[in-house]
C-alpha cells in the first residue's frame, strides 16, 4: 500500500541504536484530505516487543524515530511495524550490523 520504510540498527556503547524511517502522509485533515495518520508503532527485538508507541497527526509527515534498546548483539533481529487510523500497516525487519 504505502511507500517504503528504511531502518538502520547498529550497536552503540551498551545499547542498540535503532533509527527507522516511514513513508506516511500523517495528514491533519486539510479540507480535501481525510484524517490519515499512524497511530501505533511497535518495536520488537528478537521477537519480543520492547517499545509500544501511540502517536498522532502531531508527528511529522514521513516520520523518523530513533530508539535505544538495552544491550543487544550483532545479528539480533529488529522489527518495526506501524498501524494507521485506516487500518493500513507496514513493517520492516533488519539484523543488527
Amino acid at each position: 500500500m504505502s511507500g517504503p520504510m528504511k531502518m538502520r540498527a547498529t550497536l552503540a556503547a551498551g545499547y542498540t541504536d535503532v533509527r527507522v524511517l516511514m513513508t506516511h502522509p500523517m495528514t491533519t485533515a486539510q479540507s480535501n484530505q481525510p484524517l490519515h495518520f499512524i497511530q501505533s508503532v511497535t518495536v520488537k527485538q528478537n521477537g519480543r516487543t520492547v517499545v509500544e508507541a501511540q502517536i498522532s497527526q502531531a508527528v511529522s509527515r514521513n516520520p523518523v524515530f530513533t530508539f535505544r534498546l538495552k544491550g543487544g548483539a550483532k545479528g539480533d533481529k529488529i522489527e518495526v511495524s506501524w498501524l494507521d487510523n485506516k487500518g493500513e500497516s507496514n513493517k520492516i525487519e533488519a539484523s543488527v550490523a
Binding site: G3, R19, N62
Partner: protein, 262 residues
C-alpha cells in the same frame, strides 16, 4: 537619552542574533540525523533498475560521465561536457538523454512531470535522490577544461549577476554578500568558494516545509519564482550554465547530499 535607549536595546539583540544563528544550526544538524531523503534514495534505486519505455530498458547503462552505469561519485563531477550530445549537461538533463536514448522515450514524455508534489513525487526526483546519494563523501571535482565547459562557466557567472525581473534582482542581490539573511534564513555567497562549498554540496535536498526531496533544477526554478522572474525552461542553457558556475566554484569540498533543509 534616546541614543542610550537604542544602544541598550541593540546590544541584547546583537547577542540574540548570534544565539539565534547557533540554535538554527542546531536545528539543521538535528534534522540531518535521519532524513526522509533516504526513502527517496531507496525508490530511486528501484527506478534506476526498472525497465521502461518502448525499448523496455533500465537506466543501468546510462553514462553519467564516468562510463555506462558508473554512479558512484558521478554527481560530484557534474555538470560536464558530453561528446554524444556535444553539450554541457547537468544530472537532470543527462537523465533525460538516457531516458530518450536507452529507453526510447520521447523528450516530451520524459520531461512531462519533472517536479512532483508530496503525495506523488516525480520519477526524476527519486532518480536524482539515488544518484546524488551515491556521491556522498566524494570530493567535488567538476571539470572546467573543455571549451564548452569554460563557456558554460563564464555564461553562468554572467547569469548569476544578471539583474532583471519585476523586482530588479540578480542571484547576487541575496547571495552576493557574506553574513546576510532573509528573515532567519542565512544566505551563502554562492559565487565564492566558501559559500558555494557550504551550500551547493547539500543540494538536492529533502525540504521539511513541503515534505519532498527537491532537485537542483527545482531549486533554481523556485528561486527565480521568488525573485519575481518569469519561469526558466527546465534544463535550459541558462540554468545549466548557472549550475556549472556554482558547482565549479564549490570544487574541492566533499559532496554531502542529499541534504535535509527547512
Amino acid at each position: 537619552m534616546r541614543l542610550l535607549v537604542s544602544l541598550v536595546c541593540a546590544l541584547p539583540l546583537a547577542a540574540f542574533a548570534q544565539d539565534a544563528k547557533k540554535e538554527i544550526e542546531k536545528y539543521q544538524q538535528m534534522l540531518g540525523e535521519g532524513s526522509p531523503a533516504e526513502l527517496w534514495e531507496v525508490q530511486g534505486e528501484e527506478l534506476w533498475k526498472k525497465p521502461q519505455g518502448p525499448k523496455k530498458a533500465s537506466l543501468e547503462r546510462c553514462d553519467l560521465g564516468l562510463g555506462p552505469g558508473k554512479v558512484a561519485g558521478a554527481y560530484a563531477r557534474l555538470p560536464r561536457y558530453f561528446k554524444d550530445t556535444d553539450k554541457v549537461q547537468d544530472l537532470e538533463s543527462r537523465l533525460v538523454t538516457c531516458m530518450t536514448e536507452l529507453q526510447g522515450r520521447s523528450p516530451k514524455e520524459a520531461t512531462q512531470r519533472v517536479f512532483g508534489n508530496a503525495d506523488r513525487p516525480a520519477e526524476m526526483e527519486y532518480l536524482v535522490a539515488y544518484i546524488v546519494g551515491q556521491s556522498r563523501g566524494h570530493k567535488m571535482a567538476v571539470p572546467n577544461s573543455h571549451p564548452k565547459e569554460r563557456a558554460a562557466y563564464e555564461l553562468g557567472k554572467k547569469v548569476f549577476f544578471y539583474r532583471a525581473g519585476t523586482w530588479d534582482f540578480s542571484c547576487a542581490s541575496c547571495h552576493g554578500e557574506t553574513d546576510k539573511r532573509i528573515r532567519m534564513q542565512d544566505l551563502p555567497v554562492l559565487s565564492e568558494r566558501e559559500g558555494a562549498q557550504k551550500a551547493y554540496t547539500t543540494w538536492p535536498a529533502y525540504r521539511v516545509s513541503n515534505s519532498q526531496l527537491k532537485t537542483m533544477q527545482w531549486r533554481i526554478n523556485d528561486c527565480y519564482r521568488q525573485m519575481r522572474y518569469p519561469e526558466p525552461e527546465f534544463a535550459s542553457e541558462a540554468t545549466i550554465a548557472l549550475t556549472h558556475f556554482m558547482a565549479v566554484t564549490a570544487n574541492g569540498a566533499p559532496y554531502r547530499g542529499p541534504g535535509t533543509k527547512r
